[in-house]
Amino acid sequence: MQAIVNVTGLTKQFKNLTAVRDLSFSVNEGDVYGFLGQNGAGKSTTLRMLVSLIEPSAGEVEIFGKKLRTHRNEILREVGAVIEKPDVYKYLSAYENLKLFARLSGVKITNEKLMSQLYQVGLASRAKDTVKTFSQGMKQRLGIAIALVHNPKLIILDEPTNGLDPQGIADIRNLVLHLSKDLKKTLIISSHLLSEIEQVATRVLIIDKGGKIIEGNAAELFDPSQTIVELQTFNNVFALQQLQLSSWKAHLQAQRDTAILIRLDRQLIPQLHRSLVDMDIQVLSLQPRHSLEDYFLQVTSGNQHVDTYSN
């Protein structure tokens, strides 16, 4: 698979706050790339940098093999994005909004085509109504129609299910699957809900406090037999060096605060333990998390998330 988004060392500093720090990831063509993290983790800031709403303090974004810094307009012609909320002109109708954004994207599009776009997101019957009469779900769908109006290759949706009722969430999910499977689009979708991402993503990135926690194939990450192990030692630098030289290198996920994260089959934990002793690594603790969900809850601890997963 060809990587169409390459992010390296992306950092954003706002005065005293580092919103995103040294973030690197890549998105392959055809991926539904789930971008997970709690509110304030840096998801929206990262996505804003991907569409040049925010200038990175450091790092590089390459999309379709071109640097965003130097090929902004060329890249954005092939990108459709709804960042944060689908805010459109409330005093205009859905049809007028769609036409306006199509013109802004440099697309000459027929009325029939515009109506078919609205039909695709279930808004054809409300095409002439002003947006101020729309529900949150309808606005979200209109936002997606706007993101798609110029037939982009890459679609970026920031928390597309926010504020939606269960039916609205299901509609968005089906739309994402349709875009991915039928229209072969590449999507980046952010969410603070693991359950949402789990149902649509082919690859997943979890960030917290602006940094990467874990990245990998969704099928593997969501595999219930797999476990995340948090390793704490007296000397994490030494431990990491030793692990990178060993056969456990492939299992290493990330270093977070005072812990090293290792992802492996539960049955391999005793073997890991023996290896750590053999490598003369002084272990303080070795804590297995039951699943990615368990781990996600732990790193993104907060009432909101606990409530979410109790659904």
Partner: protein, 291 residues
């Protein structure tokens, strides 16, 4: 670029707020016309009370040209507020609605986007002044007829012949458009700094009021900065109604007393516009869109 300007104009004229200015001008001029039509003679008597004994004016003092001058004197002080209503909302309003975010994810350069918005603001300003001209000049010419224009200045009087006035108004409105574009450019610059557009409207007006007070204060210490304040030059339209006289103290038809002063004022205003727009572009190109 043309598409962007069209889009911006479409948005401006689909917003109800846009028509407040047109309605306000219509209402204010309507009230002045109504008052003067009803009791114009009393107004003229009041205006002439100090010089009635020394000057005898033949003809109709209260004519369309006179009323237009009265309207311009009153309204051109307040029109900046109406311009600021739209100009100071151009970016901050979009940021507030969240649409700025949606717009800037499209493949358009920020400079073009900003220039298109400014052009649309200028177009709105011009339309407002055209509307003002229609009501203040043409409607008054119809309602009050035309005659010579008698103007009382602070130290002298000016009498312009009936056939020597209309072109002066056209130039005066042109100059007023330049002055109002300066206000629009200032409001536009302020609209970049936050999402609350009311704050920018107030800030724009505060600067204009502050500078206007400085421009009119007769305190020597301020005289050095007065030539650099755009508000000093905004009233340059009045210069079109000062006429040159020959050695026999007769007015020279078709002349302007001090055309250099008008040119100088126009240049200062153009430089202010260029400065405000350039500053807007520099700031906006680097601005992180966090709304």
């Amino acid at each position: 670029m043309w598409t962007l300007i069209q889009i911006e104009l479409f948005k401006i004229f689909r917003r109800p707020r846009t028509y407040i200015a047109f309605a306000a001008i219509t209402g204010l001029i309507g009230i002045i016309q109504f008052g003067l039509k009803l009791d114009g003679d009393s107004y003229v008597d009041f205006m002439m009370r100090d010089i009635n004994s020394s000057i005898t004016v033949e003809g109709k003092i209260l004519n369309g040209y006179q009323v237009c001058y009265i309207v311009l004197q009153i309204l051109l002080v307040h029109v900046p507020l109406l311009i600021a209503l739209v100009a100071a909302d151009m970016i901050s309003g979009e940021a507030n609605m969240g649409t700025l975010r949606m717009m800037l994810t499209r493949p358009i350069s920020r400079t073009k986007f900003l220039l298109a918005k400014f052009m649309a603001t200028v177009a709105y300003t011009l339309m407002l002044l055209v509307w003002l001209a229609i009501l203040a000049l043409f409607v008054n010419m119809l309602l009050f007829g035309t005659d010579d224009l008698f103007l009382l200045k602070s130290q002298y009087v000016v009498l312009l012949k009936k056939d020597d006035i209309f072109w002066r108004y056209l130039w005066a409105f042109g100059f007023a458009a330049l002055a109002m574009t300066t206000v629009a450019a200032l409001g536009f610059l302020f609209s970049l700094f936050a999402e609350n557009s009311i704050g920018h409207i107030v800030a724009t007006m505060s600067v204009i009021i502050f500078f206007t007070i400085l421009s009119t204060l007769n305190i020597p210490v301020f005289n050095k900065i007065k030539p650099f304040l755009f508000t000093t030059h905004m009233i340059g339209w009045k210069e079109f109604f000062d006429i040159r006289v020959n050695d026999a103290n007769e007015a020279i038809i078709g002349s302007i007393q001090n055309p250099q002063k008008i040119l100088h004022s126009a240049l200062v205003l153009v430089l202010h516009i260029a400065g405000f727009v350039t500053a807007s572009i520099v700031i906006f190109r680097r601005k992180d869109i966090l709304s």
